[in-house]
Symmetry: C2
Subunit: 124 residues, 2 copies
Amino acid sequence: MDKLRLPAPIDAQAVTRARQAAPSDELLAIVVATFEALADPTRARMLYGLTQQPMCVRDLALLVGVTESATSHQLRLLRDRNLVKSQRAGNVIIYSIASSHLAALFREAEYYADHMLHRLPDHS
Amino acid sequence: MDKLRLPAPIDAQAVTRARQAAPSDELLAIVVATFEALADPTRARMLYGLTQQPMCVRDLALLVGVTESATSHQLRLLRDRNLVKSQRAGNVIIYSIASSHLAALFREAEYYADHMLHRLPDHS
C-alpha cells in the first residue's frame, strides 16, 4: 500500500499496542513454519505420540498406521524443522520431540479443539 | 497396511501408551484445521493482534499491511473455522478471538519459536 493513501486508523491506540506486541518477522517465520509442519494428520499423530515418550520409526508407523518408509519421510521433514531429534540406540533410531514447548503447544491445541468440539462458552 | 503383515512393535508398551493417549479423529481434525489456519503469515499476524484486543477490519489491515479487502477475506476464513468472532459496534465490525485458548496457543508457539531462534537447551 502507498503510505500516503493509508486511511486513518479507527482506534489508533489499538494499532500501536498491537504493533508493539507483534512478534518479529524472524520469530513469526518460525511460528508459521511450525504450524505448517503440524497441519497434517499423520505428522500431528506422530508428534502426539512423541509428546508421550520417545519412539522408534517402526513403533511410530504402527501407531499412525502408515508404512515405515512414509514414517521416515515425515520424520525427516520434522527433523529438518527442528521439531524432533533422533538418537541411535543399538541398531534402532529413537525419535523424541525437540522441545518441551512443543508438548505444551499440542496441549493448548487440544484444549482449544476440545472446547470447539463441545462448543463450551469461553473462559475469558 | 495388511494387519497380518504388520511387524511386531519394538516397544509394545510405548505403542499401547501412545494409542491410549492419542486424540480422537474428530479432535485431531480440529487441531489440524486450526494449525492450517495459523500457517499463514498474514493470518498469524492478525490473530496475534486480536490476542491483544478486539480490532476492526481497517485497523487490522493497517497492522498487517494488506488491503482492507484482503483482510476481510482472511477474517471470513478465520470466522468460518471458528477462530474469530465478529460483533457490530455502530457501523464498524469488531473482530475478536473466539477462545482464550487461542491466545494460550500463540503464546506457546512464541515460546517455542523463541527457543528455536536462540537455540536454548530444552527445559525438560
